[in-house]
Subunit: 192 residues, 2 copies
């Protein structure tokens, strides 16, 4: 097979990311049950056939989108890791995984839909486990920055995700100020 004429028209990876973003928007707006080849294609502005050219099956699409979301949040956390110290640094790290503004709340909402579905969708389990480990390690770092002991990690971790859950499901009862206040009080208790 002599390679003659190698048309590489579009950026494959960029296209896959764009489709994944479209899927995340659909999950955010209409829920994960509204995700289908057609709805995501419409959101991405293409046809279902074009979409299928980049993702063989819809499970593959879902998994890719979840990994993209995970990578995005992970990158944000890692970019903070070097230049933040003390309790203030702990706070800014944890704010990356908490619904402290609209963008973060959207992410948590999508994350919640994904992990909930992963309970009955074996193909998503591994990614959900990975996400769990990522959030947990962020909490470990934060507890260290706040001057806490290893034994403080578990309670802090549960508190953080409880805050994420409540702040996302009932944002007007638990708005960003509330989330931050509870978190600050808890972190202060770790140092003493």
């Amino acid at each position: 097979m002599l390679e003659q004429g190698v048309p590489k028209l579009v950026d494959h990876d960029a296209r896959r990311r764009a489709v994944a973003d479209a899927l995340l928007r659909v999950v955010r707006r209409d829920g994960i049950h509204a995700v289908s080849v057609r709805t995501v294609a419409a959101e991405a502005g293409t046809s279902p056939s074009a979409l299928r050219h980049y993702f063989a099956t819809q499970d593959e699409l879902l998994a890719f989108a979840m990994l993209a979301l995970l990578a995005r949040t992970g990158d944000r956390v890692r970019s903070l890791l070097g230049n933040r110290t003390g309790p203030a640094g702990a706070l800014s790290v944890l704010e990356e995984v908490l619904p402290v503004d609209d963008e973060r709340r959207d992410e948590v909402q999508v994350w919640l839909a994904f992990v909930t579905r992963s309970l009955t969708e074996p193909s998503l389990r591994a990614i959900a486990d990975e996400a769990e480990a990522a959030v947990r390690s962020a909490v470990e770092v934060a507890v260290g920055l706040a001057g806490g002991a290893p034994a403080d990690v578990d309670p802090t971790y549960h508190l953080v995700d409880g805050l994420a859950l409540h702040g996302t499901l009932w944002p007007h009862r638990y708005p960003p100020e509330h989330v931050r206040a509870v978190l600050v009080a808890h972190l202060a208790g770790l140092a003493g």
Copy 2:
């Protein structure tokens, strides 16, 4: 309209509850996205048409099932309220809403699926809000029993639901012993 001949063949409410239980089993086993008139009817051992005789629309069915789940948990909590005191009483109250055994874990899993969907399904919002208030009031009672102050309610509430989330999504990382241990340690801190 003379009422003559009033055949009351089946217990209407009992039938509705049986159907709701079937729906909860489907959510637990296959996820909420697998809920359909036909799957629930099959699980309940009847035909889709018979099911539609008790629930006009499927939104009505979903709402009824969620209310049934809420009532069941609420009854369990209320039955404990009179005869339990102190930190041990607080623990037993909170265990009713935490995944400390298979039955409770199933309930939390279904609850999680419901509230997640309620984010994009307006017809479920009111019920989700009610469920939130119920869990929160249980935590308020528990904090009181444990000798905590009103300011302890928020952190405890977030911790409890974070524990519920982690214990349900990753049960082998956060088994019942872990859930109980974290909770006991937290409650002990409230009294001091």
